[in-house]
């Protein structure tokens, strides 16, 4: 097997010998390229980037073309296979390559046996109302009646607090004494000045909440695309989608009922999260609160009443932009870019504990590591934190050039990949294996290493040259830790500003490796809105891409999981025809060993299945 593995490497141009030996022979060549240490944990002053790699040997990917590559940059992306013709869509990965077809509805014949029964949705914008009609109330139906000043003040007090009252008084005509009006005008000006001072420290605070959400969202176009948020259920073939009008639809592979969730408070939905170890609990991050929907899986109703939703709110904690359930289903974290504290919720008793956090101005993105031991929390300023989830202490990581844009955890929770706004690089941060034994320490590595360089480059295609690269917008790692998908920010010089999805092969142990796999392409004219992996797909990985056209495409990546295929009851059992419009047929279960072994042998992916240990769960 080892021989096969190395052979496959060689075919790919890799020079590494055996899987187990970390230091490759050409370390000197590597040195030129791999810069370490952009980040230093709390306590250490943020040092400048060290020009030397860490002594512990390479933990980097994209190593193969080093001799040919210029010393800095571009090497990793230039390795990418050329993107498919413009009118082809990526359908699946098989035999280590991405297979394309004309469209999603008619997959090529050889694929028929592999299809999975998931609904491929096409939700168009037309039936949805425009976002202009966000006002749910019946206020507009009534003729405006001017109440007395005191009544209006009371209303304003209730709605907006002191500033509302001041505003009301300052704008009143001839109803109050002149000096009261003047005084409130001054007070209002003072308030605004104070707010702007605060805003100048944290510029994002002066944004409108819609802009805030759009700014920090993991989707490329939150404000006008018809799909806003997408979330897989962690255990079953069920997912929830938020549409532009902030209604949520829940699709289930086994049922034709599509519940549509609407609630008075469900506005500006920025995140969705299904509770792990539960069939039916969905947390929704809204403008002013968190809604917890409890959807009875056996219910036949398509419009669950808003009585099924539990409202959690906390003063000063709005808009909520990120939610994270602990993997053991116990606690929910919520974050808002304007609130400096992360809230830890106990949903059933509706109690929350704010985790203190005084610098950074807010929290934009939360990500709980799959083993439940750590939480990544990014801020709008150039710093992010990693919380340890037992005693809730944290390590602070100041970044140099910008805020942390996105991140993803390895399945065992020991490695964090993240990107920084304004840098076309992927950094990696390692954590010790048994940090959970030592209470109250995160114990991350002292420095982060660069594992991939995504800077703009030119690749040769049969049709000529093509440019590729830029900054990453969001990044997801599949639950088995073998595929990494990166959604790039739109770059006007690359494909006319269309966001590109790059797919990498990864390997986490014994050494970290990152190899290019391919480019995922959608229909012509469709922009990738967001990407995510199915949490319990046992035939490899399942990448779900939401396109700007309103299509939700599932792209199965078939490979043999290095780890034992995890138990996933639904996927094992369900054989029924799909609910949605997927062009699928009745298929037997996909068996890894029988049908796949021979074609897979030469591929580099196979060798991974023999990696000595897997740490997942």
């Amino acid at each position: 097997m080892r021989a096969k593995a190395s052979r496959s490497r060689r075919t790919l141009g890799a020079a590494r010998e055996a899987t187990g030996s970390p230091p490759p022979p050409r370390r000197s060549a590597l040195k030129a390229h791999f810069r370490g240490a952009a980040f230093v944990p709390r306590g250490v002053p943020s040092a400048a980037r060290l020009p030397v790699p860490r002594a512990r040997g390479p933990q980097e990917g994209g190593t193969r073309q080093l001799p040919a590559a210029p010393p800095c940059g571009m090497c990793s992306l230039s390795l990418f296979p050329p993107s498919p013709p413009w009118d082809q869509v990526t359908l699946y990965e098989y035999n280590n390559e991405l297979v394309t077809g004309d469209n999603y509805e008619s997959p090529p014949p050889d694929f028929r046996g592999q299809w999975i029964n998931l609904p491929v949705l096409h939700l168009t914008k037309d039936p949805l109302k425009t976002p202009g009609r966000l006002d749910h109330g019946t206020k507009t139906a009534f003729i405006h009646h001017r109440e007395s000043i005191w009544k209006r003040c009371i209303n304003a007090w209730r709605d907006m607090g002191v500033s509302g009252v001041l505003n009301e008084v300052a704008n009143s005509e001839e109803e109050v004494f002149k000096w009261v009006k003047t005084a409130s005008g001054w007070a209002l000006a003072l308030c605004r000045w104070g707010a702007s001072l605060h805003g100048s420290l944290f510029p994002h605070l002066s944004l409108r909440s819609e802009d805030l959400i759009a700014e920090f969202a993991q989707v490329t176009n939150w404000s006008s695309c018809c799909l806003r948020v997408f979330a897989w259920h962690p255990h079953t073939n069920k997912f929830a989608v938020v549409l532009l009008d902030d209604s949520i639809r829940v699709y289930n592979a086994n049922s034709t009922i599509v519940p549509s969730l609407k609630h008075r408070l469900q506005r500006n939905v920025a995140a969705l999260a299904w509770k792990p170890l539960s069939a039916s609990v969905l947390a929704v991050a809204c403008q002013s609160c968190i809604l917890i929907w409890t959807l009875d899986p056996n219910s036949l109703s398509t419009r669950p009443s808003s009585g099924c939703a539990q409202v959690l709110s906390h003063p000063g904690h709005s808009p909520v932009t990120s939610l994270a359930w602990s993997p053991n289903g116990g606690r929910l974290l919520s974050a808002s870019p304007v609130d400096a504290a992360v809230l830890v919720w106990d949903i059933s008793t509706e109690t929350c504990v704010p985790l203190p956090w005084f610098r950074g101005g807010g929290v934009t993105y939360l990500l709980w590591s799959p083993d439940g031991s750590k939480v990544l929390a990014t801020t709008p300023s150039a710093v992010f934190r990693v919380w340890e989830a037992q005693m809730w202490t944290c390590e602070r990581w100041p970044t140099l050039s910008g805020r942390c844009q996105t991140g993803c955890w390895s399945p065992d929770g020991n490695r964090l990949l993240f990107t920084v706004l304004g840098e076309p690089l992927i950094y990696s941060l390692t954590f010790p294996e048994h940090s959970r034994e030592g209470k109250g320490q995160v114990g991350g590595a002292k420095t982060a290493t660069i594992v991939a360089d995504l800077s703009e480059t030119t690749i040769q295609t049969p049709n000529g040259e093509e440019r590729l690269g830029g900054e990453a917008h969001s990044m997801v790692w599949d639950p088995s830790g073998e595929r990494l998908a990166v959604l790039m920010k739109g770059n006007p010089r690359v494909r006319h500003g269309k966001p590109v999805i790059l797919l990498f092969r990864t390997r986490n142990s014994p050494v970290f490796e990152l190899l290019p796999c391919g480019i995922v392409q959608g229909e012509p004219g469709a922009w990738a809105q967001m990407i995510t992996f199915h949490p319990s797909f046992n035939k490899g990985a399942l990448l779900t891409v939401c396109w700007s056209t309103g299509r939700i495409a599932h792209i199965p990546l078939y490979f043999v999981n290095a780890q034992f295929p995890r138990f996933s009851p639904m996927l094992c059992r369900t054989q029924e025809p799909p609910a949605g419009g997927g062009g699928s047929t009745h298929v037997p279960l996909f068996t890894e060993t029988a049908s796949i072994s021979s074609p897979w042998d030469p591929s580099s992916g196979t060798s991974w299945s023999h990696s000595p240990s897997s740490h997942l769960q």
Binding site: T349, P354, Q390, W392, P569, M570
Partner: protein, 838 residues
């Protein structure tokens, strides 16, 4: 009427006045029941009476002659055993025969036996764990003095005849909690100067002359009066801590009716608490007055009357400002104490996440300050009203008692013009804030220190500290707080600590028995079974709506024997079925030892008082095999199952919620009653009278107002200790899930069917419970308040964690669960869980 009667029985934490009030409604033995006892006795297989005698002896010494003090001490443990007697006695039903037959010899022999056992207390008590169990169950049966008195801490003088279990218990309490509490007291004393400094600073507030203000305040800080009042304040803070320690509870007491609430307030202990607090409030206010100086400094001031210039030095006038401040302090102290009990502030809520103590304190601090400031404002308002109407009384009294004259120049403070003195109001408010902040700080620190996680070792390092390790602590008769801490630790270790989990799954060195796992899982399952049982009973109480059914079902006593065999690894559900047949009398008697107050249990005419029935409960309880009594105690049925796995012997399943058979305690008592003639008749007559009085009273609106139960409250009361069950669920499910990869010896596998069936049965009971009216409505949430109301929604937490626990096991084991033995119904349910359709 019917509803009322039925509901008045079950709520567990009853307070005394409520109990007394509901006495007429309590169940008393009726002739029907005695007959049935006769049948039951006849049906039971007899077993050696010596055994029962020896048991009685071992038991007797645990039950002292029953002073109130003693009961206070024992009670928490009894409450901690709360589950045990129920589970135990239900299991003991078939085997309770010997004791039942023993009792047929009449109370005299009973008493003799007990007396005989008394002389040799120490040896027997130390010898058998059964002894402790017995005492525990005795205490559980013991009538609950209404407010759950806290486990007494070492600071509390023990009763003169304290025996080894009690002292052991205190030892453990001291070892676990002693240092923490001491530290919390030290911290609150250390924080006192800070509060005092702030108080002095703000009390000499002078906005117009800031520099002078600051320099004056600094100067005052080093004054002798501040330093000396600091000493007094420290003493006060220590007294407050002692009260916190004395009155804390981990299970909130939820008054189910208005009368119960009033009863809670006027209970002697609480009255004492309130009085002491108002006295301390007055002392605090005095300190504040002394530190404020100005015109509040002393009570007697020279008069300022213009006409008596020459005798000014001789005459002393009453300084009403000083008096006002003192009275305000007393009022605030009293209100603090009142709110302390009304808001259940003696309840210790455990934090939802683990955090360092400093962080928790820092988080609580802003809340505390805000709460104190706002509350002080409200209290000031109330006090002003009070003083306006009633202020002349203390004023007249003080001035006569101390021979002080009224200063005519000063406006009297019980007038509108006198009260509207901003400086006075500010100082009183500030004094209130100072008082509340110091007291709440002490309280918050105590809460933080007491609820901090404590790591119990799973396996003893040395043979000496066997008492300290987790399985022992869980199973032993420990104070409730220790049990809570142990369960919390179990939950934490099952989640976060692979190495300690390994210890749980390990085998004992000589012999290779998984003692740790058996002990832990047994205790958790017993807790959960107990909850199932409680829920079923509650549902029945709600379903039958209090109607009394004809009290006979001759088939019933036979059931246990059949069931014993077939439900070994089956669901306890099967045994729940005959529930509908169960005469309400049995149910009533089931409830009575656990829930009802002493008086309901013992009719007035019982010559033996509490102690007899306590003993009776204890005796029956000691027979349950799960208390690991002598082997021969086991019923023939159980012994016949000999060749089964080791789990079967201590199979927690077998003390499943087999409630129909859980009636021995009342049977005993009724048997005793049978032995006596005339008092029994008297009893009946009294009962009739009571019924009449009840029905008369029930028609009066005012009475109904006070007695009517708040449905929400009684539901909360059922789940008041659900935190324990939540931890047990989490701990158990995490351990089972971890065993999938970590359990090398297959230790957990043997218990897996039992665990699954227990969880599923509980799930069924909980599901049913949530279909009752009022149950699924959420009480309003008060966010960001210092007062914790999380106990009101514990039932939702329990439901959520139960589901999560089952899902955790099913997702981990997956298809393998199909190989686990389970009843068809549970198989179906499991399948639902496997398909994520629950």
């Amino acid at each position: 009427m019917g509803v009322w009667r039925r509901l008045s029985r079950p709520p567990p934490r009853f307070s005394s006045v409520a109990a007394a009030a509901s006495r007429p409604f309590g169940k008393a033995p009726s002739p029907g029941c005695t007959e049935r006892v006769g049948e039951r006795v006849a049906l039971r297989p007899p077993s050696p009476s010596q055994l029962s005698a020896s048991l009685l002896r071992g038991q007797g010494l645990q039950v002292p002659s029953g002073t109130a003090r003693r009961r206070r001490l024992q009670l928490p443990t009894g409450r901690s055993r709360g589950p045990r007697p129920r589970g135990g006695s239900s299991q003991a039903a078939p085997r309770a025969a010997p004791s039942t037959s023993g009792s047929s010899r009449g109370p005299a022999s009973f008493e003799r036996l007990w007396r005989a056992g008394n002389p040799a207390p120490a040896a027997a008590a130390a010898a058998a764990p059964a002894g402790t169990m017995a005492s525990a169950s005795a205490a559980a049966g013991a009538p609950a003095p209404p407010p759950p008195p806290p486990p007494s801490l070492p600071s509390l003088p023990g009763p003169g005849n304290a025996r080894s279990p009690a002292s052991l218990e205190r030892d453990r309490l001291w070892r676990v909690l002693g240092w923490r509490i001491a530290t919390s007291v030290v911290w609150s004393v250390l924080l006192l100067p800070v509060c005092t400094g702030a108080f002095v600073f703000f009390s000499s507030l002078d906005v117009l002359h800031p520099v002078q203000w600051v320099s004056d305040a600094l100067h005052d800080l080093y004054g002798s009066c501040v330093l000396s009042s600091l000493l007094l304040l420290s003493a006060l803070v220590i007294v407050i801590s002692v009260f916190n320690i004395e009155f804390y509870t981990v299970v909130p007491s939820i008054p189910c009716s208005r009368l119960a609430l009033i009863g809670k307030i006027v209970h002697p202990q609480q009255v004492m608490h309130s009085l002491v607090h108002s006295a301390m409030g007055m002392l605090m206010a005095w300190c504040a007055a002394v530190m404020t100086k100005d015109r509040y400094h002393v009570l007697a001031v020279p008069c300022t009357d213009a006409d008596s210039l020459e005798s000014k030095a001789a005459r002393a006038c009453l300084n009403e400002h000083h008096l006002f401040l003192l009275l305000a302090g007393a009022f605030m102290g009293y209100s603090y104490s009142l709110l302390y009990f009304v808001n259940n502030m003696n309840y210790l809520p455990f934090p939802i996440i683990q955090q360092y103590k400093f962080l928790r304190f820092r988080r609580a601090l802003p809340l505390l300050l805000r709460h104190s400031a706002v509350e002080s404002l409200y209290l000031l308002r109330n006090f002003c009203f009070l003083y306006y109407f009633l202020g002349y009384i203390p004023k007249a009294w003080v001035s006569t008692a101390m021979d002080l004259q009224k200063d005519e120049k000063q406006p009297p403070l019980d007038s509108l013009s006198g009260l509207f003195d901003l400086s006075l109001l500010y100082h009183v408010w500030l004094c209130g804030v100072f008082l509340l902040v110091t007291w709440y700080t002490t309280w918050v620190l105590f809460r933080i220190y007491a609820t901090e996680a404590h790591a119990f070792p799973v396996q003893p390092m040395f043979t000496g500290d066997v008492e300290e390790c987790l399985p022992r602590v869980l199973n032993d008769n420990t104070p409730l707080i220790i049990k809570y801490l142990a369960l919390q630790d179990l939950m934490l270790l099952s989640q976060y600590s692979p190495s300690r989990r390994q210890e749980v799954f390990s085998l004992s060195q000589p012999g290779g028995h998984p003692h740790n796992w058996v002990a832990i899982s047994r205790e958790c399952l017993a807790l959960l079974n107990d909850l199932t049982q409680r829920l079923v009973m509650y549902q029945e109480a709600a379903a039958t709506n209090g109607r009394v059914k004809p009290p006979s079902s001759p088939v019933e006593p036979k059931k246990p024997i059949v069931m014993e065999e077939e439900t070994a690894f089956q669901t306890p559900k099967a045994s729940l079925m005959p529930k509908a047949l169960m005469p309400s009398l049995v149910k009533a008697s089931l409830f009575s030892p656990k829930f009802a107050s002493p008086d309901t249990l013992n009719p007035v005419c019982s010559p033996y008082g509490d102690s007899v029935s306590n003993r009776a409960v204890g005796i029956v309880d000691i027979k349950s095999p799960r208390h690991e009594g002598p082997q021969s105690l086991q019923s023939p049925q159980l012994t016949r199952r000999g060749p089964r796995l080791w789990t079967s012997l201590t199979d927690p399943q077998s003390n499943g919620p087999r409630s129909p058979h859980a009636s021995p305690p009342p049977i005993r008592r009724e048997a005793q009653h049978k032995g006596r003639g005339p008092p029994w008749k008297l009893c009946l007559w009294l009962q009739n009278k009571q019924e009449q009085v009840k029905s008369f009273l029930a028609k009066r609106v005012l009475i109904v107002y006070f007695f009517s139960k708040h449905p929400e409250a009684s539901i909360q009361a059922v789940f008041s200790d659900a935190q324990m069950h939540i931890w047990a669920l989490e701990g158990l499910s995490h351990l089972v899930a971890a065993s999938f990869t970590e359990d090398r010896f297959g230790v957990v596998q043997t218990t897996l069917p039992t665990i699954l069936s227990t969880l599923l049965t509980l799930q069924e009971a909980v599901d049913k419970h949530f279909k009752l009216p009022h149950v699924s409505s959420r009480p309003p949430r008060i966010s960001g308040s210092l007062v914790d109301t999380s106990y009101k929604t514990l039932r939702f937490a329990l439901r959520a964690s139960l589901k999560t626990a089952i899902y955790r096991i099913t997702t981990t084991f997956g298809e393998h669960l199909n190989a686990v033995q389970a009843s068809a119904e549970h198989q179906k349910r499991l399948q639902q869980f496997l398909e994520f359709k629950e």
